[in-house]
Symmetry: C2
Subunit: 413 residues, 2 copies
């Protein structure tokens, strides 16, 4: 409150754009993201523009569909596509009329010492701007971060996973959704998987995640059809053979990157947030939520240190970086779990056990997915508690096994 805020965006104003360029994976909005939106009074507005979902829907090879709820009744994840950005910009512009919005401004360079930024403006000329604090929220390939990389003792890593992704569309059927909406449809196939998410126009966007080397093996329409008949037979009539042939070969598979860095700040002049600080793979649906929660955490520290940037920025790095790191690692973990375990009996049994224990001891045993998605438990804390719970469960199993053996008269080991 009381800061003069100017926003620079390299893309055009998508509120006015006729064709939206670029693409984005579906955005999942859950508790952490909603809390941040609530802080600025636009939660309901944004939620109303998405599609709420209660459960995953697992598609087996034989076409059987089985739902797995995300959490308890009433716990939903709201899915948006980039449409969400339009209403987000609109909502912010309405709620904060003094915020200056500048589109088509590409950051060329900035100085940590002076806070001076140079932009390539919409008229093709260079433009200077000065700020007391630069907040870099410019995504996984952040231009702001380049200046960080020139400084000593900046830790940075970018890792591409072996999987790429490719998008397909399931059109509406008789004017309605072709599958049950309000579900995240998943076709888990161990080394690869497909997911489908509903859009407001009653289409579904399917995303196929697969190792690049497998994408490269599919070069003809026949190979593609054979691959889908073998692995996703129930999806072929939904997508349509012609559309499948056309869309699959239209664009190459896109890469997925995992970025970590530390510190998040330079001097008292610049701080990174969102994907610029911690891009993660999309398999836990927490990318946007982690970014939005960055804002809450930063806000809390601003209050705590009376808005003194020299104290706020190092504290923000200290507090937040380990949480984002833990979340990014969990997303990598889920990258394996989602495509391979989600249809195994063990996974379903563990889900059942976790949920039952949570019902019996709601404060002691909380499923990891619930802590991450439906609470604001610190990410690192959630991981530590989950490891503790797993240890307890293993010990319980040992005790039960021991007890059963005694009952059966086996000698103690």
């Amino acid at each position: 409150i009381g800061f003069a805020v100017t926003i620079f965006e390299s893309r055009e104003d998508i509120r006015c754009a006729k064709v939206v360029k670029g693409r984005s994976i579906n955005l999942a909005l859950s508790h952490r993201g909603r809390q941040a939106l609530k802080h600025i009074g636009i939660e309901e507005k944004i939620v109303s523009m998405g599609i709420p979902m209660h459960a995953r829907m697992i598609h087996s090879l034989n076409g059987k569909q089985s739902p797995i709820p995300y959490g308890k009744k009433g716990q939903v994840i709201v899915f948006h596509r980039c449409l969400c950005l339009i209403c987000l910009i609109t909502a912010v512009a309405e709620a904060y009329p003094n915020t200056k919005l500048n589109f088509n401004h590409k950051l060329l360079d900035w100085s940590p010492e002076t806070g001076a930024m140079t932009f390539h403006g919409p008229d093709g000329n260079e433009k200077e701007f000065h700020a007391d604090l630069i907040v870099g929220c410019d995504g996984a390939f952040s231009a702001t971060r380049k200046q960080f990389l020139r400084r000593s003792r900046f830790n940075y890593s970018q890792t591409y996973i072996p999987h790429g992704y490719l998008e397909l569309t399931i059109p509406p059927r008789n004017g309605d959704f072709a599958m049950k909406p309000n579900f995240l449809h998943i076709w888990p196939r161990h080394t690869f998987m497909m997911i489908a998410l509903p859009n407001l126009d009653k289409t579904f966007t399917c995303t196929l995640f697969m190792p690049f080397e497998d994408f490269e093996k599919i070069t003809t329409g026949n190979e593609l059809l054979g691959f889908f008949q073998k692995n996703f037979p129930d999806s072929i009539p939904l997508i349509g053979v012609d559309a499948l042939m056309r869309d699959f070969f239209r664009l190459p598979a896109q890469a997925l990157v995992w970025v970590t860095c530390s510190p998040y700040h330079v001097l008292d002049s610049c701080v990174l947030m969102g994907d610029a600080a911690h891009a993660m793979v999309p398999f836990y649906g927490q990318g946007m939520n982690a970014g939005f929660e960055d804002c809450i955490v930063f806000n809390e520290i601003m209050d705590q240190f009376n808005e003194d940037f020299a104290a706020v920025l190092p504290e923000y790095t200290r507090v937040r970086a380990p949480d984002d790191q833990a979340m990014a690692e969990l997303a990598m973990y889920n990258y394996v779990e989602m495509r391979s375990h989600v249809n195994s009996r063990y996974f379903l049994f563990r889900k059942f056990l976790d949920n039952t224990l949570h019902f019996v001891m709601p404060k002691t045993i909380i499923p990891l997915y619930t802590m991450i998605t439906f609470t604001r438990t610190r990410y690192r804390q959630a991981v530590i508690q989950w490891q503790w719970q797993n240890k307890c469960l293993s010990l319980s199993w040992c005790a039960i096994e021991h007890f059963m053996r005694c009952l059966a008269g086996c000698p103690c080991r």
Copy 2:
């Protein structure tokens, strides 16, 4: 053979320089590096310019000194300072008179598609140069690598360890070395350590490795003296109180970075070698050796694929990157071992056990340090064999323990 080679170096020609700018940690030349020099016929020349060492010399707190040999008799590591670069350049210039040397040329940019490079030349003007293959050997902060970072699916990480380093000098005493030469002197103190290496001019260069936060705690001459009296009392008369006071505060502690990346090549036009591809912390003395061995490996693959860059470059990444990665991880592992275990009884016992077993079964049990330093066993292979040896040793211990228990009449567990 048969290639026209042009070398561009951003620094001035140190053969003509009066004052050598910049600084470098001591360079350890062992088997892998020597083999590479042998390939181009300059091994003996370079070796004769360094100081051979057979053992470490551990300095305890009470001033006691205990030697630990590197390997068997005759296995030596040759230490150089940047002087070595001078004779290296001279030797290469003599052996390959057709190689064009360009100093004071700073790489600004290059194109993976055309092989065109732009340099900032010594006259202040930009200069273009074209090559069929660009070999980037421009160190941990490689300018060549910047172009790699702009491309998709390039994995990269830079990690700064919490320790920094600072150099001090032990002058000659009565015209001779003040401590025994031909030893790597080590003062291991758990969370930090000092080492000292002899130079040809009969001085020793001491390097203090310590967490930055500990460096920051020492701000006055009295604090410094107290710190040295407590931790390195025997070194104070060697360095001299005045020189210590002067040199310690002259420059801030320097950072140490660990860089990994993959792939090492772009298209068929550029390949990274040495620190540009895999900068490692200096605690295993393998940085230069790994870089020189890169050349041997590249050369072997060039022969294997008839110098077809399109086949050579991907194969070089595939073969070499896992080895460099394994070595860089070992160097990090030694970073802990060298400052904490080197003076523990367990460490000395393990060294004794390893060396004894190596003597009994010279082909089956080879100490890790020996495999890394005195053979050309692939780095990754050495790590795998070491893990296997450790497993065998643990099993042997279990068997011996079991046997002893049986002898003692204990019930079997």
